[in-house]
């Protein structure tokens, strides 16, 4: 409790406290060699966005644990490595993950080391006027749309990694659903980290999801790894949910043992809209998922839930912020975690209710299960309430499997491993049930079952 952090009431201006400017050059030097090779270099607003990101990151570098938001996740080891921007990989990729039943197809975009691979993707079958394309392509065809939205939500001021992403801004996915259009089939976005055996590589994918008033869409992200090299993927996603629109945004992160997965999602929800987010983390040696969901209209809703399953020496950080800026908003957050071996999980969840946001209903739950003596959980559920007519609560627990429940199953002839698996499965299902789309819930349940299978 001695570290400094921006006071919730009196945000501090950004200082280099909790930052390490010395780490910046290693990340920025390769960028300087790329020169004007980045797409869209003729767009002045984009050049400004990139330059601002570059300048910000150069001034502060990677966050350190003195930064209150990073007190439990140490990027020290990152600073020791030299990352090269990932080369566009032509590698053949087979067996792409999907939530679809066999034989079915649907809209899918595949990115390898952050670069769009048209040969592996298909955007067919979308309703008319729905745009789903790579950021690289959108910079030439939809520059106006991007100018209006990119960098509007993900503030780089106090988030060095968002700044770094902006500096490298080159490719990613853009989804634009016009007003009152319903996209029924889930849109799959597959991110494959291949990297290199000989050196550590990095990529900075950027995504933009726009659901205009009254529209609906379902987006599923899969993050997987191929190869054993060290990869750092630093994702930034900006989400705009219009009046009465609904966007379901699901993500499964199953990157390899050499992967570092950093992600920042910033969403804004207009009146009567709903942003539904679920993140299942099982992969990467180090991961951090930041989700910021702002209810900027009245009667807006957001669900920010997920599960984290870690073992070995994995480190998984979940940091969420829900901002109720307008009255009558509802937010719900259910996170469940299982931690084994000497793995470590971090959960920082904050709900802010602004002075005007009367009649807010906020609920947050984080429960962690520790399976071994070396496992660690650090939780920081936070409430910041500036309105009086609100109902906000959070709950947080940590502990091991219930001995009585285990005994009950053992007494019925179920072996220890199976009994444990059953109980862990049941424990996690509470958060998986937050997934509204059945096909996706089933697919994510399959991932959990696979994880438990490996456990034995």
């Amino acid at each position: 409790m001695t570290a400094q952090h921006p006071s919730p009431l009196h945000p501090m201006t950004y200082s280099t406290r909790g930052a390490d400017p010395a780490t910046a050059p290693a990340f920025l030097t390769p960028l300087d060699h790329m020169g004007s090779g980045l797409p869209g270099s003729g767009l002045s607003w984009l050049n400004e966005l990139r330059a601002a990101g570059r300048e910000r990151f150069a001034a502060v570098g990677l966050p350190t644990i003195k930064n209150e938001s990073w007190r439990y996740t140490n990027l020290r080891d990152l600073a020791k490595l030299t990352f090269q921007p990932a080369a566009p990989a032509a590698a053949a990729i087979d067996l792409l993950p999907t939530v679809r039943a066999e034989g079915q197809d649907g809209p899918r975009m595949v990115f390898v080391d952050g670069r769009f691979r048209a040969d592996l993707s298909s955007v067919d079958g979308l309703p008319p006027r729905v745009d789903l394309l790579s950021l690289d392509a959108a910079l030439s065809t939809h520059a106006g749309l991007l100018a209006d939205h990119l960098g509007r939500l993900a503030a780089a001021d106090d988030r060095p990694l968002v700044a770094l992403n902006s500096a490298y801004l080159a490719d990613g996915a853009v989804l634009h659903v016009p007003a009152n259009v319903q996209v029924e089939r889930p849109i799959e976005l597959v991110f494959v980290s291949v990297g290199s055996e000989s050196q550590a590589t990095t990529c900075h994918p950027r995504m933009l999801l726009i659901a205009e008033a009254g529209s609906k869409a379902v987006v599923v992200e899969h993050h997987v790894g191929r190869g054993t090299g060290t990869t750092l993927s630093n994702h930034v996603t900006e989400v705009f949910v219009g009046e009465g629109a609904t966007l379901h945004h699901y993500k499964s992160q199953r990157e390899g043992a050499g992967a570092i997965h950093l992600s920042h999602i910033a969403a804004t929800v207009a009146t009567g809209g709903c942003y539904d987010n679920f993140i299942l983390t099982t992969g990467a040696k180090l991961s951090r998922n930041e989700v910021v969901s702002r209810l900027d209209g009245t009667e807006a809703r957001t669900h920010v839930s997920g599960g984290y399953l870690v073992r070995g020496t994995q480190h998984a950080d979940t940091t969420t912020l829900i901002v109720h800026a307008k009255p009558n908003g509802t937010s719900r957050e259910v996170y469940k975690g299982v931690i084994d071996d000497t793995a470590r999980a971090v959960f920082q969840g904050k709900i802010t209710v602004c002075p005007d946001a009367q009649k807010t209903d906020g609920y947050q739950l984080n429960r962690a299960l520790l399976l071994s003596d070396g496992a660690e959980i650090d939780s920081k559920p936070e409430l910041e309430i500036h309105a009086d007519d609100v109902k906000c609560s959070h709950g947080c627990t940590a502990g091991e499997l219930d001995d009585d429940a285990l005994f009950y199953l053992r007494a019925r002839g179920i072996d220890r491993d199976t009994a444990q698996g059953l109980l862990i499965g049941a424990f996690l299902s509470e958060s998986l049930e937050e997934i509204a789309e059945e096909s996706i819930r089933d697919a994510f349940q399959g991932i959990v079952a696979g994880w438990l299978e490996e456990q034995k």
């Binding site: 006071s7 009431l9 520790l370 660690e376 409430l383 091991e400």
Partner: protein, 494 residues
Amino acid sequence: MAAQPETVEQVRAVTEQKYKYGFTTDIESDVAPKGLNEDIVRFISAKKEEPEWLLDWRLKAFRVWQTMEEPQWAAVSFPPIDYQDAHYYAAPKKKAGPKSLDEVDPELLKTYEKLGIPLREQEILAGVEGSEGKSPAIAVDAVFDSVSVATTFKAKLEEMGIIFCAISEAVQKHPDLVKKYLGSVVPYTDNYYATLNCAVFTDGSFVYIPKGVRCPMELSTYFRINQANTGQFERTLIIADEGSYVSYLEGCTAPQRDENQLHAAVVELVAMDDATIKYSTVQNWYPGNAEGVGGIYNFVTKRGACRGRNSKISWTQVETGSAITWKYPSCILQGDNSVGEFYSVAITNNFQQADTGTKMIHIGKNTRSTIVSKGISAGKAQQTYRGLVKILPRAEGARNHTQCDSLLIGDKCGAHTVPYIESRNRSARIEHEATTAKISEDQLFYCRQRGISEEDAVSLIVNGFCKEVLKELPMEFAVEAQKLVGISLEGSVG
């Protein structure tokens, strides 16, 4: 009030000699000149006729303090404090006290009356001559502006081997005990305000309960801040030896003063095997007026160490006063099976700010902790619960339950919850719950319909909300605390 003869003698001896570090002391007010430097630290130490080791310790702390930065992380804001613009020592005026309660400031008596302090205690608190030793049921060690003036019931306690005296007296009479435990829970390098306290603390209480002794009465200290512009830096040290029990009450009242006064106390508790310390606080210092002018800055470090097996430390606090409160009474649960408790009611009204909570550090096996925090925010006040529950790998079977509830009255105030929960032992069970709500219209309507005024209704409902904590207070305090809840929320509705 009649002070202990030795205290009188001591004060006279010190004050009559010319101060040898460069300035003379005005004997009438007996206030050190404004400012903070090594000379002031030496001056305080000399006034107290302290041994060399204590002066050295103070100076070490002062030098560390000069290198420290004021903490910024708490959710409170105030203009920067000029540490040079305060007196660091103020002994009470030696002129005769009032002869009876009739001569005491009626405003002060009104506050006492509202609080329900027994007449006899009022006399002692107001400094009426000859009131000492009449018949209070509680042993009172009244601290007036940094110097402990009277200690009652001392003889009776002495029979049982209990030491209850001013810490400056303990330094003279029981130097070994003080030397052994002072700074052992809150080291002189601990934090900005605690370190400042180490350098300039003037007085406070010292309690030692010998092995196997159950202290037969509640030990109590009333703190008051009288002199304008004086920082108050008490140092309290309580040691409960094996198998002993003590319940300690700390109450605070301060008369109305315009300028902000800094209060940076340090309280250290040490509980050995099977010992129990119950520490209760009712804090109702001047919170500033309705416009947020004036009031006390209460930046306090309180920490207890459960050193022994089966030891227990229980903190209960009712915080209604002060302009700014920055306070985290904590427990270090070192001994196996030791227990830590924290019960808190914090009420902030008008422009008050409070950032308060606790730390429970579980080190030993089967250590248990309970946290119940009730925060009430009204007017334009801001309140934060900030707490840490930390389970270290060796704390097999540790258990924590935390309940933080906030109640908001009015739409201009804020209530925040910032708990940190860190577990490194799988067999540990931790539960944390927090809720935020407002007084429901239904409850208010129900009371109003039965002819209860709005203000009384709010007081009633809030008292119900706090009941879980208030019932932990010793009887004498519980009544006082309930009334305080009502007084603190005056003017918050309607």
